[in-house]
Assembly symmetry: C2
Homo-oligomer: 305 residues x 2
Amino acid sequence: MLVEGKEMRSLWWDDTLKLIDQRKLPFQLKIFEASSVEKVAYAIKKMVVRGAPAIGCAAAYGMALAEDKEKAARMLKRTRPTAHDLFYAVDYMTENEGRIEAAHRYVEDIVEKCRKIGEIGEKLIKHGSRILTHCNAGALATVDWGTALAPIRMAKDKEIFVWVDETRPRLQGLLTSWELKQEGIKHAVIADNAAGYFMKEGEVDMVIVGADRIASNYDVANKIGTYEKAVLAKENGIPFYVAAPISTFDESISDGKKIKIEERDAEEVTKIFDYLPPEIRNPAFDITPAEYITGIITEKGIIKP
Amino acid sequence: MLVEGKEMRSLWWDDTLKLIDQRKLPFQLKIFEASSVEKVAYAIKKMVVRGAPAIGCAAAYGMALAEDKEKAARMLKRTRPTAHDLFYAVDYMTENEGRIEAAHRYVEDIVEKCRKIGEIGEKLIKHGSRILTHCNAGALATVDWGTALAPIRMAKDKEIFVWVDETRPRLQGLLTSWELKQEGIKHAVIADNAAGYFMKEGEVDMVIVGADRIASNYDVANKIGTYEKAVLAKENGIPFYVAAPISTFDESISDGKKIKIEERDAEEVTKIFDYLPPEIRNPAFDITPAEYITGIITEKGIIKP
């Protein structure tokens, strides 16, 4: 991805693990250093790094940094429950005795898969398309290229326009806006409430989002609000694509109902306003049933649920 | 409505017009004084007062305060385009030569209609119901009782629970939370993105919202995001009610497509984050087609579109 005109990744190895601190963006570009598996676990839990593929890559390096690999695996798997890549990466590293070369290979593989997702997905984007995306499934979330943003990056000469849901509560839409700005791709940020409005007005040609976990019947767990946008897309006859590497598929789960939804701190919702309601509920993800998904763009082609 | 245990209204006449400043709530209870039609116009435009019926009441007093009634009518009608009550109230005052007694009558009539909406709507609420509402259609928006909140207020002994959409960009859900807290009604505030999730989880029994304008085919203009929640309610088999006085119906408009949607300042979206995307789009309302509406609760009964 481009950052201030230079090629950069969201995390890289430099004797220790270095990560763009996503809690500071888009306000400040700051690098977080994780020199131990404990620091990597902290970075995942506190969302210094976020996005399922990037979490997997950080965890791979966390395994490489650890002395006690079994303890490290347990610690890392406890950080966040939804992203399937996390579990996939930790198991892969266990099979490879936690070697740093295995972590490098894992990361290069993710980057290559995302590039491939971009190539495959780009073909779906017509000249002048207006594409809506939710949350951030960009290079920040996947080390490079992104999943949902990979096809968009590759289609940037097609005079496209991107509608960016601000994505409350954590406003990851701002990360997407920051990435698109770096690439010079035209876009507008909107309140999540306005996505349906622009769909109904005929101003959205397609939707592309990422995924945190995909059940074997193709139900998709992704950032809270994804389900809402999928229902609205279907209602308005707009294609709704999910872009994700095959590592996101969890064959052990038959359908979305069996995916445990993480509920995060109330503070994520309340911190933009200085008022404490008697109760806050803050589910971080939701499930989009396969019936609302036009296709899942993977590195191996497009899967039609 | 109860405010700190005492009965209060959102606006009242005390030689001049006094209004609860809704820009300061729920953080601070402050009274705004409007001693001229210019100040009333300012209060409507800047959303010191908001909610279609309350805007109408403020405008009625604005007409009473003015020397030049024709000029006042033009000024008030230019403040905000969506709320039908505004135009209805100004025309009513013009017919009554802008007399203060007419303004009082107008306001008492609104309060009585809202009370009646509460009585009629309360019968739709079963014991233990979990009701979702969007934006604030409470006493703040209507001088007293509210429209969507009137049935909820009257059902408060039925062990109900209210899901309150935070309602970005302006977060009027916090006004709803503030009102419900004053009345001791159990509720939780959620990100707008989570409304669909809780519907799909079977945790929402019904939806009640207000309306800014209703076309003659019963399409409803209301706060941005209302359309999204209506589609999701239908998808999940949840009754979706609109509560509004008859003055909200605009017989001159055949359907929702002909209602002009106000687009407000980008700053409403950006002010919670200190980052400026290249573009912000901020439609303040959307249209909910009649097909998604189970019933419109009015002071004269329930209209089924």
